[in-house]
């Protein structure tokens, strides 16, 4: 067991395999499900994501309580996050893929996803090339470092999660009504 936990290659392979299988089986690695959610016609993917985030945030809170966590918060400035998210969103809405689901779809027989993955390698190259001109200036705007909601709002970790869980449940109930109405 210790050998597995100390070996990043084996750990990466195991966790990656579980993640890839779950992406496929949950329907997130399916462009029809993603486009359906973005068109607000088939909210399956949205509901999967909501449960994913809620379970994840509760689990990470418990890990932190026992000091068992390995956090990796990104230091991205808020404007870079917004602008980068929007670029990704355009590609997401156009194709129904994101990096993880694109890989999962490409390996499960979707030729269009394979071509999108090739585009991703070009996108990474564009990022490397435009780093000085675009990314650096953008990153300096609204840059507050690795901040988290509880410290920012001055409320407890558990209270923050309780608020988000209530919001998530409201979202799930609302989308359920919509589904029945159709």
């Amino acid at each position: 067991m210790n050998m597995i936990l100390e070996n990043p290659i084996i750990l990466g392979l195991i966790i990656g395999a579980l993640f890839g299988a779950a992406l496929f089986l949950s329907g997130l690695a399916n462009p029809d499900k993603i486009i359906g959610t973005l068109r607000l016609k088939d909210l399956h993917a949205m509901r999967v994501i909501i449960v994913f985030l809620v379970i994840g945030m509760i689990g990470v809170m418990l890990l932190e309580r026992y000091g068992l966590e390995h956090l990796g918060i990104k230091s991205t400035g808020l404007l870079s996050a917004l602008v980068g998210g929007a670029f990704l969103g355009v590609g997401f809405g156009l194709t129904g893929y994101c990096p993880g689901t694109g890989l999962a779809c490409a390996i499960t027989g979707r030729i269009d996803a394979l071509i999108t993955v090739l585009g991703m390698f070009v996108g990474a190259y564009v990022y490397i090339r435009l780093y000085h001109g675009l990314v650096v200036p953008l990153d300096k705007i609204w840059d507050y470092g690795k901040i988290r909601w509880p410290e920012t709002l001055g409320i407890q970790h558990s209270v923050t999660i309780a608020i988000l869980v209530v919001l998530a449940i409201i979202c799930l109930i609302m989308t359920r009504c919509k589904k029945k109405a159709e």
Partner: protein
């Protein structure tokens, strides 16, 4: 592949798992990742593989670049093997549930643009460029920035999610106005 393609549009099939179970598994895998090593993330590896290629042609450029000269971008570690594992896991899952299928478009595409794979490939390639470029500008993709960001209660996950969904909803509305049949 086996049926005649012109026989009519394929409805959007249900996912293999119900929404709550799919979400539960993904959430538990995220917790496992945070416990074992590092939160989930996918997109950095594209930059690392590009760096490996650029290194062959212009090592000096790599050495002087503020991002790709870093150690993290020079070696294939946990994140790389996570992506390889992801490919293997998705492949096995698809084979086990009998859903591995050669496809060139999807139902939403067919309902709006007919069965025209060429246009799907062109838009897919352009989409891929935007997807990875945007991910790196934001510091992560839907896994590394949205999912990992929210579970750690990172503030920058909020503007990322807003940008992602506003742009995604807007573009999907333009590109896919007509809805195919959806299995409930």
């Amino acid at each position: 592949m086996e049926e005649k393609k012109d026989a009519g549009m394929q409805p959007v099939a249900k996912a293999s798992l119900p929404w709550w179970l799919g979400g539960l598994l993904l959430g538990l895998i995220m917790v496992l990742a945070v416990w074992a090593y590092d939160p989930l993330g996918v997109s950095t590896q594209f930059v690392i593989l590009d760096t490996k290629i650029i290194q062959h042609f212009d090592a000096e450029y790599v050495a002087e670049h503020p991002v790709i000269s870093k150690d993290k971008y020079q070696s294939l570690g946990y994140g790389f093997w996570l992506d390889i594992g992801l490919l293997g896991g998705a492949l096995i899952a698809a084979l086990v549930v009998g859903r591995w299928k050669l496809q060139t478009t999807c139902s939403w595409w067919d309902a709006n643009h007919g069965k025209s794979p060429v246009l799907r490939f062109i838009t897919g390639f352009i989409g891929g460029i935007l997807i990875l470029f945007g991910s790196r500008v934001a510091g992560g993709c839907t896994s590394g920035m949205m999912a990992s960001g929210w579970v750690q209660l990172a503030v920058n996950a909020l503007p990322f999610t807003i940008g992602l969904f506003i742009a995604g909803i807007f573009v999907a509305r333009l590109v896919y106005p007509k809805s195919p049949e959806i299995e409930k």
